[in-house]
């Protein structure tokens, strides 16, 4: 459903993502981990077609993001970091705008909006302005927007950031419900969330993939579990770089 092929991107001579390749099939939920500045957001933005890669390609349900961007994006839902929304809109206006952008008919839009309202649990704020909503609600409205066209692939950059424990649990449950018929990529800083949500983990460092396995296997590498394994992997890479 989602395939990244040798994806690379540099900014002002600095390599942000270096020949990143992996693929994801239906039913997989991938935890995309890395330190700040490791290249997670850049990879996700390239995968969503927000920025163009310098080289490589992303295939979404058989469509190339480089040569057939719009067809690929029709099959993809993206929640950017910080869940940016239009402050002057209500969630209902926002979802209607997304329906129009995705070419969803008015009739189908109504049922799609009802579906995502129930999924993201935002029914009680639909007529309030986005600027008046809490961070948690904004994130859930953003998530509802990413789901409005029922995409095959979901790319969620920090979907639970800013949510309280109850909201986090609700989002995790939603992701688990959606997982069976979608491929989902999630970036998160909260490592304890990973085993609860993800069936696979990829760790990147300096734009390169350094580990790819299930959360259970990854956790077995070190005694302290996933967090220790993550710190161990990243610090080993850092040590190699410092020696070099």
């Amino acid at each position: 459903m989602l395939e990244l092929k040798q994806l690379s991107k540099s900014f002002a001579g600095r390599t942000a993502v270096d020949s990143m390749s992996f693929s994801l099939v239906k039913g997989e939920v991938l935890g995309f981990l890395g330190q700040n500045g490791a290249g997670k957001s850049t990879t996700m933005r390239m995968a969503a077609g927000v920025i163009e890669p310098d080289s490589g390609d992303v295939i979404v349900s058989g469509h190339s993001i480089v040569s057939n961007r719009r067809e690929a994006q029709r099959r993809l839902g993206f929640l950017p970091e910080g869940a940016p929304l239009y402050p002057d809109m209500t969630p209902l206006d926002f979802l209607n705008f997304l329906c129009a952008a995705h070419r969803i008919s008015r009739k189908d839009c109504r049922s799609a909006v009802e579906r995502v309202i129930a999924d993201a649990r935002i029914g009680d704020v639909m007529s309030k302005r986005v600027s008046t909503l809490s961070k948690g609600y904004r994130r859930r409205v953003g998530l509802a927007g990413a789901l409005i066209h029922d995409p095959d692939v979901l790319i969620l950059d920090e979907p639970t950031d800013g949510l309280d424990p109850i909201q986090k649990r609700a989002v995790r449950a939603l992701i688990s419900r959606m997982a069976k018929d979608k491929a989902i990529v999630i970036s998160t800083h909260t490592l304890e969330e990973v085993p609860a949500m993800c069936s696979r983990v990829i760790i990147i460092d300096q734009g390169k993939l350094i580990a790819d396995s299930s959360p259970e296997e990854m956790a077995k590498r070190r005694e302290g579990g996933l967090e220790e394994a993550f710190i161990d992997l990243v610090s080993k890479k850092e040590a190699v770089r410092n020696e070099g």
């Binding site: 994006q73 970091e81 402050p87 809109m89 952008a101 927007g145």
Partner: protein, 254 residues
Amino acid sequence: MKAELRDIVTSLRASYLRELRAYFATPLAYVFVAIFLMLVGVFTWEASRFFDTGLADLQPFFYWHPWLYMIFLPALSMRLWADEIAYSTSELLFSLPVSLFGLATGKLLAAWSVAALSLLLTFPMWITVNYLGAPDNGAIAITYLTSLLMAGAYLSIGAAMSSLFSSQVLAYIAGILVAFVFTAAGWPMLVGGISGLLGAAAGDLVAQFSFLTYFETAQRGVLELRALLFFGGVTITWLLLNTIWVSNKRAFAG
């Protein structure tokens, strides 16, 4: 080709409705229309001394349009892209299966609609001159139409400038500066100065790039094809530049 056209129309419609709603969801459009109407009135009745001319026509009213547009229309267009960048909603927009040309056109048309509404609300001027005398209403209609086209050209400059900045203020200043060049190039004092320095041909050449030159003919009630082509050409050129600059953000964004 058919699919591309469909994507352009879809994106145009979605962004037009969004932007139009955004103008009226905040006080921006209301304040813009109110201040524009007030200043148009002040300039027409006071600065141009309408009642002293003894003529029942709208020349004193239309005379100020290029200058007022130069100051006001960048204020209407400054938020079109600058806000998308400032609020990071451009990230969201770029992840949608939309045509950037369609989006840019929709945004421009939304701003143009607010400008058209402002122009429409000047109808009491037209009623006044018809009450006072028997003006050439055909000529007035032609000047209104050309003024609306000229507004589109000013707005397309402002929208393109807005795509270069994340600050509305900077977008506004840049919009005014470029609009000033396209306005002042036909200002008689400047044309005279250039003619004196470089010859009449140079002065005429510079004046050919000014909104004033083409709008002046329209003020006499003459509908010129070259004026229509000029305003249409300027609008399309800046709209294309706008699309290219926004597209570059996808290619080179950090």
